[in-house]
Structure formats: C-alpha cells, structure tokens
C-alpha cells in the first residue's frame, strides 16, 4: 500500500522566491506538488524521503530547498577553525549530494549549472570522485564549494581526513540519490555510518532521500534519521503521484516456446521487428553472455543496417563511452544491455524497453521500464520476452504485479561487521575516538541500530590486533589507545593503506581478454602465441578457470577460442564456430524474488488463472496435471523416475537459483549418506534435479528413503557445516569480508605488482581460522552474508519450514512435463556442485583411456 500523497498547504508563492517563480514560468513549467512538498519540509526543518518514478523531476526537487536557501545571503557568518589554522569563510559547505555512480554525480552537476546560471544564483557546485585531481581535492577540503556532489566512498575518505570536522561543521543538507539502490548493498552500510558521523559533526544537517518506489518506504525513511537509543525514527515521506501507469505486454510469439534455455532465440525476428518499428529501443538481458549472444544474433539478421549497439559492464570503458555518447545523441536504434544501464544517466528518448528472459522481480522490472520514458505523464511501454515456459509464468505474474503497483524490494539490511571494521579504521585515521562514544554514534545509523556491544568491541579488537584468541599481535597493533583511552592509528602507513583500500565493492578478479591470431597447429601444442593483441574487454577469472585451451565461448559479440592465460591476460583467437562449446550463462546476479515466486506458485495452484497464459503453456500445465501433479501454494512436489540407466529425483520449490544451488548441494550429501549414489544435479530458478545410480523410487517405496527426513530443516545443521568447510562459494564470501574489513589489502602502497602475484590466498586463511577460531568476527560476518547472499540460506530455511509435512511424492515411469526444462539443462548449463575428487578421477581415467587407444 503506497503512503498517501502529501498535500501542500502553502501556495508556491509563499515557498518560492520571485526569481524561482519567474524561472519556472519562463520555461513554461509550474512547480510540481512534490517539489513544493519538499520545500515545505525544508522550511519546517524536517528530513524527508521522496518516492517518485523516473522522470518526475526528482533531482530538481531534491535540490530546490538548497537552491532557495542559498539564493538569499546567509544570515549568520560562521568562522570555523581548521586544524591549527583559522580560516575565514562566508558560509562553507552547505549541501552534500551522494550518488551511487560517479557518472551520475557528473551528470547532475551539469543539470544543476543550468538553473543556477539562468537565475543568476551565487552558488558554487563541484564534484569530487575518484577521477578528481589531487590539487582540486585539497582545495575542496580547505575552500569547499556550496554544493559538493560525490559518492559514498569519497564521503568516507573525507570523513577520515583531519579536515573532516572543519569541512562538515557548516553542513545544512545532504541529498541521497537512488537511495533504493544504495541501501541494498554494503555501500549502503558504509553510507549509513558516514551519515552517523555527519549527524555528530553537523547536528543541524537535514537529509533528503530520493528513491524509486519500494515495498517498505517506512524502513527506508529510517535511514535518513539518526536512530535514538532503542526507538525507530523515520523521516517524513513524500510521494509523487500522477505518473501514467506503464503499458507492459508479454510478447505473443508466433513461434514454438522453448522448454528451456535463456537466449529467447525463438523470438529473435520478432525482437528485431520491434526495434525496427520504434525509434529507440533498450533491450535488457540478465547476463553479460546473454547480451553478447543476442547482439551477435541481431547483427546476423540486420539486413536493414539498423544502428544497434552493445553495452555491458565488462566492455572496455572507451567502447562503453562511445555507445553512451551515440545514445545521448540519438544515433542509435537499439542498445542491447545488462543492468549496467539500470541506473542513472539520462538516456533521452527511449520509446520502448524490451526485457528478454526472466524479470526476476517486480520492482526491478518496473525500474527498468522506467528508463523508457523520462516524460512523467506519458506511459512507458515495455514488452517482456520470456525465453522458456517457466519464464512465461514469471512474466505473467510480473505484469500482474506491476498492474497492482506491488513492490518487492528487499527489506533494509542489517549492517555488516566487515564494513563496520573499515569504518572504525577510518575513524581512527581522523580524530581519535573513545569506544563508548563511537558505539553510541554507530548505533544512530539505521542498519546498525541493533548492534550489540560485544559485536562492536570485537570489531574494534579486530581492527587493532586482529581479534585473535592467541594474543600475539599486540606489538603490531594498527590502532592504539592513548592515556585517555582514545584510539588512534599507530602509524602513517596504516592511514595510507586505509585510503587506498576504502570502499565495499569487491570486484571479481577480472582478466583482460586480448584477441590474437590462433596457433594454427592443432591442439595440445605448447607453441608460443603472439603476445599483445587488441583488448576486447575483461572477463571473470572464475570463468576462465573452467576452460581448457581450444574451448570456444562468446565474448565481445563474437565466438572466440581460448588460447592461453599468461599473468592477468587471457589470449583468445577468432573462432569460426557458430555455437560456442562452453555456455557462459551464469544465471545473472539476482535470483527470482520471493514475492514473484509466491505469485508463480499461486498461479500454478489456480487453474482458472491459466486462462491468462498462452495456449502452449496451458497445454503443458494441463498435461502435467494429468500425468503427475501440479503443486499447491505451500506444497512441495517431488517426482522420481528412471531415464536411461540413471534415476532422477526432482523437486520444485520455486525459491530461486541461489537457494536451490545450496539445496542441491545439501541434498546430494544426504542422498550419498542414504546410499542413493547421486552423481550430480542442476538447479534453476524453479527446481532442483538430482540424478544418480540408486533407484530413488524403489528406496522411497521401501522406506529406505524418507522424504520428510530428506527435506528436514536439520540439513541446515551439521550437513551445512560440513559443506561450508569446503564450499567455494563460502570461501568467496569470506574473501569479500576479508578485503572489506581490511584484513587483506586490495591495493598496496609502493610498488605496483599485478594482483595475481601478490594477493594472499584468503582460502588458506579461511581454512586455518575455521579450525582454530570458528567464532572469529570475520567468520561471523561471512556467515551473515551467506544468509542472504550467494548461498541464500535464510530463504532456504524459510522454504524448508513452509513445506514441512506438505511433500507430495509422485513415482513416475518417465520424465514429467514440468521436469523437461531441468533435464534439458543437464549438459547444457554448467553442472553445479563443488568440483571434488571425482573430477580428478575423471581426468586421470581419461588419460588411461587415451593411453589404451
């Protein structure tokens, strides 16, 4: 239920000075209601959260109070003393603007300059990003502009400098843009801690949050207010109304709907026609490799020579800029893109959004569709193109959810301990702190409002000496207490290291991909390849590790052959295969949202609602009902059947790929113990299919295998523990925590070495720490991440609780209609499962076979 639109009591004339009214009138505009509402909040000295769709003039609304305040001479002049040196200034920094993207900060600066210039306001606006030259940064700290536009990382850096108190003491407002996007990640945690610090340095500061529509605006509004001990306090919420509802349809394909896969190749010509019919179309896909594949396919059929471009985060920056510029200039007819275009920068006149594949979440889809139109009062248009039958269900419920304006953004995060560790070190780099005071300050940040004192103390202990049970590092402490008990950094090197490593975005280790000429002489040769070659972009190291030389995959819009890896460079050559040998679909970053999953289950359960589905899909479901069973909303369907010389067990929890992957891993362990001899499994957004040598049907019939016991929530006990010990996903999670917390440095002072050479393997640290201090604060941080991150443990736990006593088993003679998609994925998608000895045995046997001819 969206909160009611606030009505503004005052007339614009009362809130807006004359020159603003004239400026609005001169452009033929009148101030919007929510813009006035924010002005009124400012006048009442209140913090506010503005919820508005794209195109509603959100940014101007956020800055209007600042512009109005700065348009009249400031009433009181402040003299502030900097560190040791008195500096006279007229007003100091008035407004801080934080955006998740530096490109957005730069864009906003440009947009602000116009009203400021046109109204002749005496206001200085500057940006500060990682690209800002050192000299300007130094100047900004001494002689700040009126408005500073920056990112959460730069804010952390400013706060950790000696000038922090001087710089921020005059601060009147902070504007947080794209807040809905910021708060879902550890960057949001970092920002919240920065806010807590600002509230102490500048108690007069008021916040304005700008956000797309979210499920729980009240929670988001808490983020903008200091949380006093034990109580929840929220900023006022202003909701912009009046946006035209979007027109969203599902592509009614003429072709046969595929059973599985994510490419939507069947609908290619229809997608092409849509691009042709519209002026500018954004084609969103979920993963980089899908983008690659689709772009390539579209070019192959592009007989009209339409200007179609490709945009994703792994492409070379220069190439991305070229696409963005062409887009802004209106020279492109279509852009195939990933979430790299989800946020931010104004794209001008996009008149259609096509979303290929699963929408994953209603709010996410809505935000993407919002890119289609920056004119508030016109409806955005979008076409959803499901790539397989399950995705048809997902698209159907997403369209229904959008029609109801239902939201499924995730709940507010609990502040992460690794981010807190980074912040504590940052604090020690600035003015010394007392534990008691810092603890109180940190808890004013909404994500940390419930932080326990012992967790805080453990974090401080970790920052100081590692927090180990074996107290041997006292003399190597990074922060030390003085006689008054205040912590400060032990030496300048620690400060330097903090500054180099600030931030919470841990990128996957990426390797540069270079195109070279192939070594023509067959396979297995170790002949040298030409070094150098054109850089195509960057690719995840994890992906390359799974390849053998000679394997082909899609990258940079073409099929390439993997030649060799040297240092941090991957050498590939042009391949002439039409289809790549190795699929690189990694499932995208986000799983199907809990909300859409539930709606899909409801849709399945309600036979009458099937009328809204394409005929092919209705037939598929009806057949499933006839030969097996269609599960109810809270029920778990488990099917077992033989196929070839193997036995299959497939279940349909509809809880998203990540939770399913974890479930598959744990079920396989249990089945192994039950002597069902499992061999492998595939997990997708809807189901988990396990195959093996043991006859699961027979075992269930004879009571050797009890499904209630198999799916019992106690699998999250010892089985989980045993798996976590060796799980590569868990090790990756731990690595992120180790880096963010500052245990391992990403960037080193002094010499520039490639990270592959110097990076200490955090896997070794994980193994040792797990055995010798299992409750260490970093392991706790990693476990908290595992609950919601790559392992999605919380969701798995909720599912197991939901289906207890509601498992329906169907013993079948052969594969069921619902099982076909998963079975088709075997061999095509990468098989999940931690590689184990079995992989080595296989490699050794393969060798024996070759030797025996």
């Amino acid at each position: 239920m969206p909160p009611p639109i606030l009505t503004v009591s005052a007339e614009p004339a009362a809130l807006l000075p004359d020159r603003f009214l004239r400026w609005f009138a001169g452009r033929g505009w009148s101030p919007r209601e929510h813009q006035m509402a924010l002005l009124e909040k400012a006048r009442e000295d209140r913090s506010a959260l503005l919820i508005a769709p794209t195109g509603a003039g959100k940014t101007l609304a956020g800055f209007l109070p600042t512009l109005v305040e700065l348009s009249s001479p400031r009433s009181e002049k402040s003299n502030v003393v900097s560190t040791g040196r008195a500096v006279q200034r007229s007003g100091g920094l008035h407004t801080l603007y934080i955006s998740p993207l530096k490109a957005l900060a730069v864009d906003i600066a440009r947009n602000l300059e116009r009203p400021i210039a046109e109204m002749g306001l005496p206001i200085k606006v500057e940006t500060r990003t990682g690209d800002t030259p050192v000299s300007r940064r130094q100047r900004q700290r001494r002689y700040p502009p009126d408005i500073l536009l920056t990112t959460p990382e730069q804010l952390a850096l400013l706060l950790s400098s000696d000038d922090g108190p001087f710089l921020f003491s005059s601060l009147k407002r902070i504007v947080l843009d794209e807040l809905h996007a910021l708060v879902t990640s550890k960057r949001g945690d970092l920002l919240s801690l920065g806010l807590a610090r600002l509230w102490r340095l500048a108690p007069q500061m008021r916040a304005i949050g700008l956000s797309a529509t979210v499920a729980e605006p009240e929670q988001l509004a808490r983020f903008l207010m200091p949380q006093p001990d034990g109580q929840a306090r929220s900023a006022d919420i202003v909701t912009a109304g009046g946006a035209a509802p979007p027109v969203v349809e599902m592509l009614d394909t003429r072709e046969r709907l595929p059973w599985s896969g994510h490419s939507a190749r069947h609908a290619l010509s229809e997608v092409y026609e849509l691009i042709k019919e519209n002026k500018t179309t954004l084609v969103f896909v979920n993963t980089r490799s899908q983008a690659e594949m689709l772009f390539q396919d579209l070019w192959r059929m592009n007989d009209d020579g339409l200007a179609i471009a490709l945009h994703h985060g792994s492409l070379d920056v220069a190439q991305r800029r070229k696409v963005e510029d062409a887009m802004a200039a209106g020279r492109l007819r279509g852009v195939v893109c990933t979430s790299s275009l989800d946020l931010g920068v104004d794209w001008g006149d996009v008149d259609l959004v096509i979303n290929i594949g699963a929408p994953k979440g209603a709010s996410r889809l809505m935000q993407r569709i919002g890119r289609a139109n920056h004119r508030f009062d016109e409806a955005s248009r979008a076409v959803l193109v499901p790539a397989n039958r399950f995705e048809v269900l997902e698209c159907r419920v997403a369209i229904d959810a959008i029609a109801e304006n239902a939201q499924d953004t995730p709940p507010l995060r609990l502040g992460a301990l690794d981010v807190l560790a980074q912040h504590v070190l940052g604090c020690a780099c600035g003015e010394p702190f007392l534990s008691d005071e810092l603890y109180r300050e940190v808890r004013t940040a909404a994500p940390y409002a419930d932080l326990a004192r012992n967790d805080f103390d453990d974090v401080v202990d970790f920052v100081a000496t590692g927090g180990y049970a074996l107290k041997t590092y006292e003399r190597f402490a990074r922060i030390k207490q003085d006689k008054q008990g205040r912590f400060r950094v032990a030496n300048p090197r620690v400060r330097q290291s903090y500054r180099l490593n600030v931030g919470t975005i841990v990128e996957e280790t990426m390797l540069k991909v270079r195109l070279v000429r192939s070594r023509s002489t067959g396979t297995g040769s170790t002949g040298a390849i030409a070094r150098g070659g054109r850089v195509l972009g960057e690719i995840e190291e994890v992906f390359i590790e799974g390849l053998s030389p000679g394997d082909t995959f899609v990258f940079g819009g073409e099929v390439v052959r993997y030649e060799a890896l040297a240092e941090d460079q991957v050498y590939v050559s042009r391949a002439h295969d039409k289809d790549p040998k190795v699929p690189s679909y990694m499932g995208g970053k986000f799983p199907l949202s809990t909300y859409l999953a539930e709606r899909v289950r409801k849709l399945l359960d309600d036979g009458r609602a099937w009328r809204g589905l394409p005929e092919q899909v209705r037939d598929w479901l009806s057949l499933q009902r006839d030969v097996s069973h269609v599960p109810g909303v809270r029920e778990l369907l488990v099917e077992t059947f033989p196929r070839g010389n193997k036995h299959y067990l497939i279940c349909y929890p509809f809880e998203g790929r990540l939770a399913h992957q974890t479930l598959g891993m744990l079920l396989t362990r249990r089945l192994e113990r039950a002597r069902a001899r499992p061999l492998g499994f595939v997990a997708n957004e809807y189901s988990v299919a396990i195959w093996g040598l043991g006859d699961a049907s027979f075992m269930i019939r004879n009571g050797q295998l009890n499904l209630d016991a198999l799916f019992s929530p106690d699998m999250l006990g010892d089985d989980l523990e045993a798996w976590l010990a060796e799980s590569a996903l868990m090790k990756r999670t731990f690595r992120n925590c180790a880096i963010i917390s500052g245990l391992i440095e990403r960037r080193f002072t002094g010499e520039e070495k490639s990270r592959r050479q110097v990076l200490f393997s955090t896997d070794l640290v994980y193994d040792v720490l797990r055995k010798h201090q299992a409750d260490h604060v970093l392991l706790r941080a990693a476990r908290a991440d595992a609950a919601t991150g790559l392992l999605d443990l919380r969701r798995l736990g909720d599912m197991l609780a939901r289906i207890r006593g509601r498992i329906t088993h169907k013993e079948l003679d052969h594969v069921s209609p619902l099982a076909v998609p998963a079975l088709l994925e075997i061999g095509r998608e990468s098989v999940y499962g931690e590689a184990s000895d079995e992989l080595l045995v296989e490699a050794a046997e393969e060798l024996v076979r070759q030797a025996m001819g």
Binding site: T465, G466, Y468, L470, T472, Y473, F476, R478, R493, V494, S497, G524, T526, E545, G546, L547, S548, P549, L565, V582, P583, A722, L743, I744, E745, F760, S761, L764, V765, D767, V768, L769, K771, H772, Q773, H776, S830, V831, G833, A835, S836, D837, L839, L840, V841, E842, A843, A844, E846, L847
Partner: protein
C-alpha cells in the same frame, strides 16, 4: 570429513625418482619406506606473524596448524629420519617468534629420530638451538635432497610450491601437487599459509625441459596422477 580422517584413509601413492619408489602422502610429505625416511618441504613457519609485522594481521595459527599436520604424518609413518627441505621458516627471525608451545612441539617430533633442516632462500641461516642437524643438501643412495631444484637426475627439491588445476565442463579444481618425471621431483609446500605456483609456469619448464612430467595432485581422499599437459 576432518583432516585426521582424510589422512587415515589409504592415502599414499607411489612416486618413482631414479628407480627409488617413494610414497606420495596425501598430506604432501614424501616417504621412503626402506630407509624409513620422511621429507616435507616449505613449512614457512611463522608466515602469519611475518605478515603481521608489516601490518597484515593474518590469523596467528599457521604454525600450530602446520606442526599438527606434521605431527600426524610423522605419527603414522614413524620415520627414522625426517628431512625438512628448506624454507622451514618464513623469514630470518621467524624462529625467534615461535611460541614456547611450538618449540616444545618441534622437540617432541625430533625425539627418537634424526632430524635434518635443509636451508632455503627464506631461511639461509638456520638457528642452532632448535635441535636437528643443519645442511645445504643431503645425499642418500642415488637421491639428492636440496631446496632449490637444479634439474639434476635423482634430485628431490621444493622451493617452487607446485600446484595444478584440472578443468572439465566449466568446473575446475586446483590443488597442491608433486611434480615428477621419474628422474626428479618437486615437492608441494607443506605450510598452512604457503601459496602455490602453477606447474604450467616457465619455472617448471626450466627444470623438466621438454620432457613430459606428471602432477600428483593432493585430492580429498587420495593422490591423483595426472599428466602435466592435461592441467592448467
């Protein structure tokens, strides 16, 4: 599975060097049963505290972890001679940072057998007060034990920390390994914090030349012999 369990499963495999049959132990040790001789390489004791001195506060449990794994493999084979094949200590002052418990653990391992510390590039000047004999290299029959490999026939060396990756169908796993061509062998690092160098690195080509060699990967339950050319 705990480490102890893993070790107790039949876990040794034959690895031949210059017609001598060794057992490649799953722990990363090499055992010459006729001579009752056990070799481990690159323990890198006190690597954690070495990093800590430079401000990287790695968990200080690596020495304990390494020594307890060493104790387990010694207990199973009860060797007459133990050779630590160099880089036993991560830096020149590492031995001074050993805790009293760790020192006691080392003495306990040494009691009742000969113990030879071979010096390595990390520990060129080994301490005299830690028991055992100090040497640059040791020759037993046709075999020479030294820290840095030269490529000579009959040589068993360490220093390079070999590891190998095996990939198939988009999955891959990487493990420490022995590298051997039947005439010479390079041992995996035994230390808990010792990293690895891929056997496809040029350093290995220098030792083995154009000859084919085999990676003996330390799996979960056994050692797997896989041609180096099959690894990445």
């Amino acid at each position: 599975m705990t480490e102890q369990e893993a070790l107790s499963i039949s876990s040794t495999r034959t690895l031949d060097v210059a017609s001598v049959s060794f057992h490649a132990d799953l722990s990363g040790a090499l055992v010459w049963e006729e001579e009752r001789l056990l070799v481990v390489s690159d323990l890198h004791l006190e690597k954690g505290s070495s990093f800590a001195m430079r401000g990287v506060l790695l968990p200080p449990f690596d020495t304990v972890a390494t020594l307890s794994r060493l104790a387990a493999v010694i207990a199973r084979h009860d060797p007459r001679v133990v050779i630590a094949l160099g880089d036993s200590f991560h830096d020149r002052t590492a031995h001074e940072r050993l805790s009293d418990d760790d020192r006691d653990a080392v003495s306990a391992l040494q009691s009742g057998r000969d113990w030879i510390w071979i010096s390595g590039n990390h520990d060129p000047a080994l301490p005299r007060d830690l028991g055992g004999t100090i040497a640059d290299e040791v020759m037993v029959g046709p075999i020479t034990f030294r820290h840095e490999p030269t490529g000579a026939a009959g040589e068993i060396a360490g220093h390079l920390h070999p590891k190998a990756r095996v990939s198939a169908r988009g999955r891959s796993m990487e493990r420490r390994c022995f590298a051997s061509d039947g005439e010479r062998a390079i041992m995996p690092a035994f230390g808990a914090y010792a990293g690895g160098l891929s056997i496809r690195d040029a350093a290995f080509a220098k030792i083995f030349g154009a000859r084919h060699f085999t990676a003996h990967l330390l799996g979960d339950r056994r050692v797997h012999a896989i041609a180096a050319s099959r690894c990445s």
